[in-house]
């Protein structure tokens, strides 16, 4: 199997330990090293395809590839002797174009990963999958925002896209909307308003294939109700493993199937009734901190999925080219 990631990636290291213990051959490479320590070759002759990758002297044939784990790959050819936008484009097209034709299983497929980042699409899919979604408005119409705030007076505002594109990217906290806001400024940029869930706990549900591993972190009873974003709250309660309600598990699996994701980190807010409200699903969400606090075997489960034998899961993305001739 193949791992696309940078050299400094301790989370990948956790998974590689399990893969090595199981004896599965692993090739790890960073696309940034292309035309340096990474080389590739693909031949299309007489209707057949043969491909090879080599990284630091290890050669892997694309036909033998079971799975590709897209962890934190660098920009293709970024560390080439003479990097350029042109070389990056050529190297990226060559590498990912070859891999897309390989028939390997992906965690996650680049197309599915890209689509999964769209928050408006996430909300719609969560709804149609049967997950509870807090009332949400995304708008550039000030009047639509005012009407919404009248119906749902207790609101939070968050970015549509996620992280601010700084270098390094900066997470933008979810914040409460103070009463009496005018909303005229939404005309200058799409704004996501969401009914605030009065939560008693945060839920992180990590999905690996069909396995769902959920953890719960109780909200501090004396917590500041204005701090709604767990990433910016002072850490008090620890994460504990928690069972996933069967109906919710079914909805999560529907979501993953429709999204064509093999991995997803779901964030829910648990309210006083015990309902888990869908906030988002991050297809590349970190899992190291949950594994460390809860002892849940996330990295081992990922290793098992990656090492799993064929035939591949029926993926819509891969099946066009799955039957590679010898």
């Amino acid at each position: 199997m193949l791992i696309l990631t940078s050299q400094e990636d301790v989370t990948a290291d956790m998974v590689v330990v399990h893969l090595n213990a199981s004896g599965v051959p692993v090739v790890r490479l960073d696309p940034a090293d292309l035309t340096g320590t990474v080389a590739l070759s693909a031949e299309y002759v007489h209707g057949a395809f043969r491909g090879h990758l080599s990284s630091a002297g290890r050669l892997v044939s694309l036909e033998s590839l079971r799975s590709v784990w897209v962890r934190r790959p660098g920009t293709a050819a970024a560390r080439a002797p003479e990097p350029s936008a042109w070389l990056t484009e050529e190297a990226s097209q060559a590498l990912y174009g070859m891999l897309r034709g390989s028939g390997a299983r992906w965690m996650n497929h680049p197309d599915a990963a890209r689509r999964a980042r769209h928050k408006p699409w996430q909300l719609r899919l969560a709804q149609s999958s049967g997950l509870p979604v807090p009332a949400t408005l995304i708008t550039t119409f000030p009047q639509a925002a005012r009407d919404f705030a009248e119906r749902y007076p207790d609101l939070v505002v968050k970015p549509v896209s996620g992280a601010h594109p700084q270098d390094p990217p900066r997470a933008v906290p979810t914040t409460r909307v103070p009463p009496g806001v005018d909303f005229a400024a939404v005309a200058y940029g799409p704004t996501l308003l969401q009914r605030r869930v009065a939560k008693r706990a945060d839920i992180r549900l990590t999905a690996v294939g069909d396995r769902l591993l959920a953890a719960r972190k109780a909200t501090a009873p004396d917590g500041d109700p204005d701090v709604v974003d767990v990433r910016f709250a002072p850490s008090t309660a620890p994460w504990h493993p928690v069972d996933v309600p069967p109906r919710l598990a079914e909805a999560v699996r529907t979501y993953l199937r429709e999204a064509e994701l093999a991995y997803g980190a779901f964030d829910f807010a648990e309210d006083a009734d015990g309902t888990w409200w869908f906030l988002e699903c991050n297809q590349s969400g970190q899992f190291g901190f949950v594994e460390v606090e809860t002892g849940q075997p996330i990295s081992r489960t990922i290793a098992e999925w990656l090492a799993g034998p064929g035939p591949q899961h029926h993926s819509r993305h891969a099946d066009c080219c799955g039957s590679a001739a010898p």
Copy 2:
């Protein structure tokens, strides 16, 4: 229906003429005008989704949207009063995220369009669809290039990705490989080598849904055999309509179905035996010049596809969110 394109787009104008004649309501907008003359709103309440777009005062509901034609859209919010990378990201996520949840038919869906640009993937899909593909090698191994050149002495070299990322982008011509080349330089960047087809004509096959419109341009008998790229050859013979051989038509439809493309411009090289060799499929290829020279009704066919009634073609990309509640 919705057209995403820039204001100066005469090819889109050709299609709009036919749409207007048929009385189908058309909203045309450029994502670059977001938060200026373009506004959007999407509401997720009680498991239902309602979305609206407005452009220059015309309002369209996403539930009523039959189709989206992605022609030449500008960068989202590029013409906003205070453009920024952050605003572009937010506006792009909001617009495309909403549209992805709309259930409309796409020409072409952004995911399918992005995937279709990968040349190595195109070659593999063309092979598995039953299209004749000239022997091709993509490699960074000099020895692999040398071995290939021994088996196929008459080669052309072309870019893996297509256009050079200049501003404006520059097309890189396909060129013949002179004999005795050493190939040591392929180690510095992936190189695509392909057996040269001794062609007697270029074929442009424009596919619109299930309709295939092919045109043929004979190679000048005294043409320079070193000029292999029709885009850079002096134009002598005109484009003429030509019938598509039934087996080839079947392979092209397989390709389009697997690629999930509603539109594709295929380039083939016809050899002395009359075989059409697959060179590439451009999912956003121009069609105006073929329509003008051949009189083939390409823009009318596109208009008919876009105006076509539901139920939508069973698209893998759209079906997760196709059942929008009222």
